[in-house]
Symmetry: C2
Subunit: 416 residues, 2 copies
């Protein structure tokens, strides 16, 4: 390899962090969660680029794990938030911006008759479940096996520090498997409160899977028949596939949908959009948070959603994702590798066929860092409206060099 | 009454909101939660003042329900956040600011050996409970009856949409009642994971109560003997009473403490500070949130805590609270009323003795709005470093006029 990644500052920050933060870094960027060779500390982000703590610059395909949809530091979005902040971000109650944002969501999202705001995606999924239980007077929540809905005890992917009772009324089915869903619904009987589904299957470490329209229709039918709520967890995909909601193309409307990540292009905000059936349930529950009336993030959301609605930002990011997909596919084939590229082009999962234990994926992504490309070997990635054809082409050229690097490391195409 | 409160804009916003938000407003400012006559929508905040949507100006004693500790729109705090934001708020991982903030908390908070960051106070209390369970391998969490620890199913003050299993391992004791705590600890037996306490008793709708040092020492002793975690929920009082932690004056150290509200003077942030005993538990659990690496709020927190540590801001806000307490007491007596003013002076609860169903308190606080003073009849209030003697004196003069107003409404001192 010709380019060596500077990492002395990153190592120094991790050493300091390990003294004062358990593991040094929590969550997705914890040392145990990333391939060795990834930087853990960042200094700067702008447009479609990030810079790590050592000043290494990357064309970024993670978009802060989802929030960046229009480009980091977007002038119009940030300008709207700053203008609101000059009047004050928080006070003792909401501002007119809350009303404007709720009206905009109701106008924009297919199923929405009302909205509620929070800070984390997990706030929105948790409150959606609470609303479904309040609306139905029932308890059982059905979720797809392996789906991620947040990181609190009732839904965390980890059982460490979680009790069995936290999951007492959670039951599972297989995504896109109608018979499995039918069986779970039957088992829940007259205690079915909700079916909770992500927009598509975007579980970590496996190929992504778009929803089968017949499966979504069956879920809708079950909820219509039983009075349960169909909840769309659109935290990751919302405002990235379709501003009307991620199931708009299928014509299936949820009763509740949870949003966060891209809703305000990086400003901390989450939202629930619900229909009339769920309004009374939502009115009955008690939810609040210290910063939930905050107006700056709501102003950022209004501007973000207006731009997504009125421009070709999403179509552009999908086109950039498609360009990346085709380019990577071509380059990989040239080097004898087969890629499995799944999910929507603007939320790509890229995996190497026959890649046992991510040996190839990890080596490839770490090597790509040295050529200025930030990819992820086992989590879906994200394109933004700030990615331009020249960025994608540069990434594809970097991939070409990266394949030579991994060949030099002795990594050869697996027999499949 | 001589001054009539304009409220046409507030009414118009509420009518619009009622169409697109369940109840129009959620949480503390919901119509059902406030006395008729309170504005629900705000336009502006600055220093110790808020302006409602109709432009009515108030000297504010709610401080956005806690976050405002140095004054709304504090130039140094906001400047630090904006400077960080110019480099980017979020990227794919944390920045150096996370390390600096964790180091500052470890240096500042008595018991802290490490810190973790979130967005809501509820994130911090929920993760503290998860850490305690992970660290101990046990399940039971003991809480004081009536204490508020957040608004998610395991701890919400409402059972609407909540299942019995969400509370399966929660047990209660009476605050400051050693025998009651002993009994709860005995009942939990070898399954005791944690005792969770607020800094002092600041439950809604009742007199506040400072902790009995002997009670805190007994809680500490139980945790030392059993290996359980003593968790301080310092979300409301943290960085308002004592920058070292709200139990510093008692010499009792918790194992875990949850912070939010005032930690970044209004920027959305929460934190857990823990000791070595809890480090491994904290390292084992999985917690994350889409905006938890966000650097701007952390930069605001660093500046906020430095100012609180290096200036007399907290002593000043306590002095302003004391000035308000003495002034209100004098004015009330002059009009034949007896006030019960409890808790720390900078977090005052003001209640009228003998006030059945808050008839006097509600009338008084609503009438005070007309004289430019924003009070709360049944939730503790907050003073900030931005409150000046002239503001307090103006508030006391307004209280004098307010007593005349309520007398004109036929409200007379109750027989006690």
């Amino acid at each position: 390899m010709t380019i060596s990644l500077k990492n002395s500052r990153d190592a120094e920050l991790l050493a300091r962090a390990q003294r004062v933060v358990p593991n040094g870094v929590w969550g997705h960027m914890a040392t145990r969660s990333i391939a060795p060779g990834y930087p853990q500390f960042f200094a700067k982000s702008d447009g479609c680029r990030v810079w790590d703590a050592d000043g290494n610059e990357y064309i970024d395909f993670m978009c802060a794990w989802g929030p960046n949809v229009l480009g980091y530091g977007h002038a119009e979005v940030d300008g709207a938030a700053f203008a609101r902040m000059k009047q004050g971000d928080i006070g003792n109650g909401p501002t007119e911006v809350m009303v404007e944002l709720a009206e905009l969501l109701v106008d924009t999202i297919d199923h929405a008759d009302w909205a509620l705001f929070q800070k984390n995606g997990t706030d929105a999924t948790t409150a959606s479940v609470t609303i479904a239980r309040a609306a139905t007077g029932r308890r059982k929540i059905l979720v797809a096996r392996g789906a991620y809905h947040g990181a609190v005890p009732w839904c965390s992917p980890s059982m460490v520090g979680v009790t069995a009772e936290d999951r007492a009324h959670l039951a599972q089915f297989e995504f896109n498997d109608i018979a499995s869903l039918d069986a779970a619904v039957a088992a829940a009987g007259d205690d079915l409160a909700a079916i909770l589904l992500t927009a598509f299957r975007h579980d970590v470490n496996r190929d992504q899977e778009m929803p089968d329209p017949a499966f979504l229709q069956q879920a809708r039918r079950h909820c219509d028949q039983s009075g349960a709520a169909l909840i769309l967890d659109d935290v990751r995909a919302g405002f990235r596939l379709d501003v009307r909601g991620s199931w708009a193309q299928y014509g299936v409307k949820p009763d509740l949908a949870a949003y966060s990540k891209a809703i305000a292009n990086g400003w901390p905000l989450a939202a629930i959009a619900g229909n009339e059936r769920m309004r009374e349930g939502a009115a009955k529950i008690f939810v609040t948070g210290s910063f939930w009336y905050g107006a700056a993030a709501m102003a950022a959301a209004v501007k973000t959603i207006e731009i997504l609605r009125d421009t070709n930002a999403l179509a552009h990011s999908a086109a950039m994702g498609q360009r990346l997909r085709e380019g990577l596919d071509m380059v990989a084939r040239r080097h004898g590798f087969t890629l499995s590229q799944t999910g929507p082009a603007q939320m790509p999962m890229v995996r190497f066929a026959g890649d046992q234990e991510l040996r190839i994926g990890n080596a490839f992504c770490v090597a790509a860092l040295r050529h200025g490309i930030y990819l992820h070997p086992r989590h879906n990635m994200f394109l933004s409206a700030a990615h331009q054809p020249a960025d994608i082409d540069r990434a594809i050229a970097a991939a070409e060099t990266t394949f030579k690097d991994i060949a030099a490391l002795g990594i050869t195409p697996p027999r499949i």
